[in-house]
């Protein structure tokens, strides 16, 4: 099989060739040896990957069934590769290698092979929606499934252009109906106790990309979709228009380029619209003290690892409420903690900078305004879009409660009643609101006779 035929006495050419081949054999031997030794340096094995935001695989525990069926060994193999000491540089090398697989055009698309349902005209019941299933008894997904569903919803369909990633939205008729039903259920349950508001935040694609482009990519127009969502809600739900206020300021820094959230400024325009709906006067932007964190590379960057995003990182600006920056929150273990409404995250890893706002998604938070004693209170029920929104509420109520509906175990409506909350605001990203996971989870926590256990915090 060798390219050069054997001869009785090795020629000079043959000797040269053999020299190179020997060098190759020894180099390979050295590589295998380095790899072997390196793998044996247990104390160098990391337990967390900062690049990937995850805990690395732990060494599996041994028991007879997993030993016999091979699960134990395959987990050892997974652990070995996942925590290999040279893994990070190797992964980095692999990424530069993958960049050579082809070339990137000016605009690119990741995922998005989704068939959006046709958007009905607001107020009209589409044929397939008649007699839509009552989902009150549907078991909501567990938190892990819900997270996966939400991640897919945001990340499946990313359009990238000029160093910015845009999350496209695909309308789902049934899930939209289910979400509206859940909000209506909350309003019914809280009738006479609290006023229920609904705020739907469009994704950046909806506000910043042209209608033509979105439609050519098979995505749904988010203005019409918001209108449709709101049209399905009962009159007792006060709906807050957000799309147009944002569109009016589309040249401003409303959304991050490398992360799927809106900025504090984007949330500010939604807050102004909320004030208009409630009939109160919004605070002027110039009056706030600002905190900034540079070098933010968010979820879009984690997902895409696109160098064009890395070349222009985001800046997270947060505005400190006038009244107070103190916050009490209960973490996922239920422990009471002290924090700030706007937090200085210097020293944190840059991908986490969105947690400047109310320290990210905590199950329950409470902010007491020392400058008011009128007993007014608000409960913000939110996904992560609510984080940038929450600080704007603080100056208007004596007490601001914030519940992340995914992490909070108890009944949301019971909480509102027990704390005599005036206003309950449901704030969701439009795209996330349009999933069964969100709708069913909210529904399970707002029903009049709530199946969810009440947790007294």
């Amino acid at each position: 099989m060798g390219p050069v035929r054997r001869r009785r006495r090795p020629s000079k050419a043959r000797r040269v060739l053999n020299g190179y081949r020997d060098a190759s054999i020894y180099s390979l031997g050295a590589l295998f040896a380095v790899g072997l030794v390196c793998g044996g340096l247990f104390f160098l094995r990391p337990s967390v990957s900062e690049v990937e935001h995850r805990e690395l695989t732990r060494f599996p525990s041994l028991d007879l069934p997993t030993f016999l069926d091979g699960t134990f060994f395959s987990n050892v193999a997974l652990w070995y590769a996942d925590t290999y000491p040279l893994r990070d540089p190797l992964v980095g090398f692999d990424q530069s290698l993958q960049a050579l697989y082809g070339f990137s055009g000016e605009a690119r698309m990741k995922g998005g092979n989704v068939q959006a349902d046709e958007l009905p005209v607001a107020g009209e019941t589409p044929v397939q929606d008649e007699g839509a299933a009552d989902r009150r008894d549907v078991e909501p997904p567990d938190p892990g499934e819900l997270q996966t569903e939400m991640r897919n919803q945001i990340m499946n369909g990313l359009y990238v252009e000029d160093g910015t990633a845009y999350s496209l939205y695909y309308f789902d008729q049934g899930a939209t109906r289910a979400y509206a039903d859940a909000i209506n259920e909350a309003a019914k349950s809280l009738e006479g106790t609290s006023t229920v508001y609904s705020i739907l935040a469009p994704t950046n694609a909806g506000v910043l990309l042209s209608d033509e482009l979105q439609s050519s990519l098979g995505a749904t127009n988010q203005e019409q979709a918001s209108d449709y969502f709101y049209s399905l809600m009962d009159d007792s739900v006060k709906t807050v228009p957000v799309y147009q206020p944002l569109k009016d300021h589309e040249d401003e820094y409303l959304y991050f380029r490398t992360d799927h959230h809106w900025t504090a400024l984007g949330a500010y325009y939604a807050y102004r619209s909320f004030c208009e709906q409630k009939g109160i006067e919004p605070e002027d932007l110039d009056t706030f003290q600002r905190m900034r964190q540079k070098g933010f590379l968010g979820t879009f960057y984690s997902e895409l690892q696109d160098p064009s995003l890395a070349s222009a990182p985001d800046v997270v600006s947060a505005y400190l409420p006038h009244a107070t920056n103190e916050m009490t929150y209960w973490d996922s273990s239920g422990t009471e903690q002290e924090g700030n409404v706007v937090n200085d995250l210097s020293g944190w890893i840059p991908s986490s900078y969105y947690s400047m706002f109310i320290l990210g998604d905590q199950p329950l938070s409470q902010i007491d305004n020392p400058k008011l004693d009128d007993g007014s209170s608000v409960l913000l029920v939110k996904d992560s879009f609510g984080c940038a929104f929450a600080p704007w509420l603080v100056d208007h109520y004596q007490t601001t409660y914030i519940i992340d509906f995914r992490a909070y175990d108890g009944s949301i409506t019971d909480f509102a009643r027990e704390h005599d909350v005036d206003d309950v605001i449901f704030l969701n990203c439009l795209s996330l609101a349009g999933t069964y996971g969100t709708a069913d989870t909210i529904m399970s926590k707002v029903q009049a006779a709530s199946p969810a256990a009440t947790t007294e915090r």
């Binding site: 190759s24 295998f32 697989y101």
Partner: protein
Amino acid sequence: MSYATLVPSSGATAIARVMVFSSLIFVFLFFPLYLLAYRLAPERHRNPVLLVSSLIFYGWGGPQYLVLLVGETFIAWVFALLMGPNRRGARPRWPLVTACALLLGLLAYFKYWGWLSGMTLALFDLPVFLPEVLLPIGISFYTFQLISYVADVWKGEVEVQRAFWKLLLYSSLFYQCIAGPIVRYETVATEIDRRHASRTDVYLGLRRFCVGLAKKAVLANGCASVADTLLPIGSEALATQAVTGYWLGMAFYMLQIYLDFSAYSDMAIGMGRMVGFHFLENFDYPYISRSIREFWHRWHISLSTFFRDYVYFPLGGSRCSTAKTIRNLTVVWLLTGLWHGASWNYVLWGLYFLAFLLLERYVLRGIGESWAGLPYALIVVFFGWVLFRFESFAELGTVVAGLFGATAGGFSSLEVQTIFTEHLFLLIVSIVACTRLPHRLRGALARIGRGGGLGVQLLGLEEFVVPVFTLIISVAALAGASYNPFIYFQF
């Protein structure tokens, strides 16, 4: 209602876990330790080292499956011994029949029971015993190896192996035990006891291993990720792909399946060569074939020659009436289809090739010599892989319709264009890797090198760089991918 929706997946798709060659733990732990032990061991201890390494390797996928491997080997060993010493012409038939029945029975139970009982359940509504049978890894390969052993002993073509552990070494040898090639006992019979690895053997073996590893870890896995993105099995998105997406996805799948499987053979052949085993080639550039007949002479050669020698020829081959020839071919292709998996689409896949082979035999006689043979064979094989990929007939129908334009996804999409441009060079390199071009380039370099001088330096540099470079990029690619099973393990 299609059978596919009724077939329980336990038989065909629940596969035992295994240590794959393309994993960091193999490349940087098992393999160096094994090489070290083998090199340091005195010659008489090398076979035991090899056997122990193989059993550890196989046991890694679950020690319980070792019982089956050892048990099947025991069956083959005992019944081969019962065939008596090589007295000419007086060899009893019953040990051969019993051994084959037992080995095939075990294969049928572990590989096809779930599928068969699913069918009886569907057809007769019989509540049958449905065991949770996991498909033991490599069972299709080592069962066939052992059958070839007993058959060849019976035919008097090889000496009976009296040492059980040596037969176990043959059946469990980790180079080829779990994904082929199906090495005949006669190929290695003498090399088990006497083998020599020259420096050239060591170099060429290592080189073959590294190139194979890169073929798998870089090219095949790269193609797989594109194919899976565009044609996700079991997802609604499969139905809404654009026409160009179906074609591009299947093209990448076609490349993946060859690169993946042939890479495994490359690594097996290379590891054998390093220590002095000379396995036969398993692939010979199948995608440059000009007919389906030629394709099957070039694709998974150890399987097609197995069916030729142990099924087709014993049935009479083509030296009989046309009707019998067609019958013989039908049997072979039904079995070939079934060997690939316990599902109707594999049966269909086998019959699909049978149809084209008959067409070539009786109608399109000259196609193999014509220029049109190449595109013809490529297209037939392309659609063959469509049948192969989708076990669900519903999905199969969706994809075939999509390839011909019947899809809600339109003709093309920005996603497909993005995937195409971002993987264009991967596509080109993968296509080149399916041709003789790399081999020819090396040959040309060797001719230049024969003249000495700068030429030999250039050749030497190539000989130095290729294995080292392919190993480095493979390791990087393996570190980059955490989940990485061989797709051919199903069989």
